[in-house]
Amino acid sequence: MNMTCDQFRDLLIDHVEGELIVDVQELFEFHRTRCPNCGAYLESYHYTIRITRKLPGPPLPAEVEARLRESLRPHLGGGD
């Protein structure tokens, strides 16, 4: 049985999480190797996840930290 491009896309999240059952995974791979569009889509979908996970958690902006410290001062006092 062939898989359509829409069906392929619906399965991406389970594929990425390694949750496809073997039979479906085989159909998925079969479609991927024969459909350049879906192959490219899968790569970019996966890259989107990986690059998002590289997002830095920048430090608190200095002015935000200063205001928070001021408002929480009675509770922070005596800390290290």
């Binding site: 991406l12 879906c38 608190l60 922070l76």
Partner: protein, 203 residues
């Protein structure tokens, strides 16, 4: 073809709190957790001032209950939950003020590029991505443009790295609902990022 997903970026992850031998003081909580609380709230609310208010509320709650926590994982889980709840409550208050901004209606309605069209291959290598500042800005902007229900799930899953079951618990959703929203959010993010990463047409 696709490698297992790496863990989320942990450059700012304070890691476990000090073990039982080191007292967890309010100052330690502030130093180690305030940035994470602030950035979750900022990404969920899309507004720096609101994120600051939420951060203050959450820190106050954490500090007041500090002596009830025994382990870092317990505190970390609770902290995510309280931060999300505080952000959701803040959003609700704000939308009441501004005349309702429905979040439910947007659910399940997220237009995607058709699967029938050509897909350009991205000009990226197989190695672990290295995030440039301008790319980070593009991704942050795309996150900010996600409709709210999808943004919440995307931030918690793909930025914070929480598992679907935990997100379901925090947001009061079923796991399938979380996965459905996450998948749609990822596809929308992919479409938003595509112009910045595309190379030639897939061959």
């Amino acid at each position: 073809m696709t490698d297992p997903l790496p863990p989320p970026a942990d450059a700012d992850d304070p890691g476990p709190l000090p073990d039982a031998g080191s007292p967890v003081t309010p100052e330690v909580v502030f130093r180690d957790y305030a940035p994470r609380i602030y950035h979750i709230a900022r990404r969920m609310l899309g507004n720096d001032a609101d994120a600051e208010d939420v951060t203050q509320d959450v820190l106050l709650q954490v500090i007041r209950k500090l002596d009830t926590f025994r382990g870092d994982s317990q505190l970390s889980t609770w902290l995510h939950r309280v931060t999300v709840n505080a952000a959701l409550a803040y959003r609700q208050k704000r939308s009441n003020r501004q005349r309702r901004e429905t979040t439910e209606a947007a659910d399940e309605v997220l237009e995607m590029a058709s699967a029938a069209g050509p897909v350009k291959r991205w000009a990226v290598g197989p190695d672990e991505p290295v995030l440039a500042a301008e790319q980070a800005a593009v991704i942050e902007k795309a996150i900010g443009e996600l409709p709210v229900p999808f943004r919440d799930v995307y931030v918690l899953a793909d930025v914070e790295g929480l598992p679907s079951a935990e997100i379901a618990g925090i947001l009061g959703l079923s796991v399938p609902a979380v996965k459905s929203r996450l998948h749609r959010a990822r596809m929308r993010m992919r479409d938003s990022l595509a112009p910045h990463f595309e190379g030639g047409i897939a061959t």
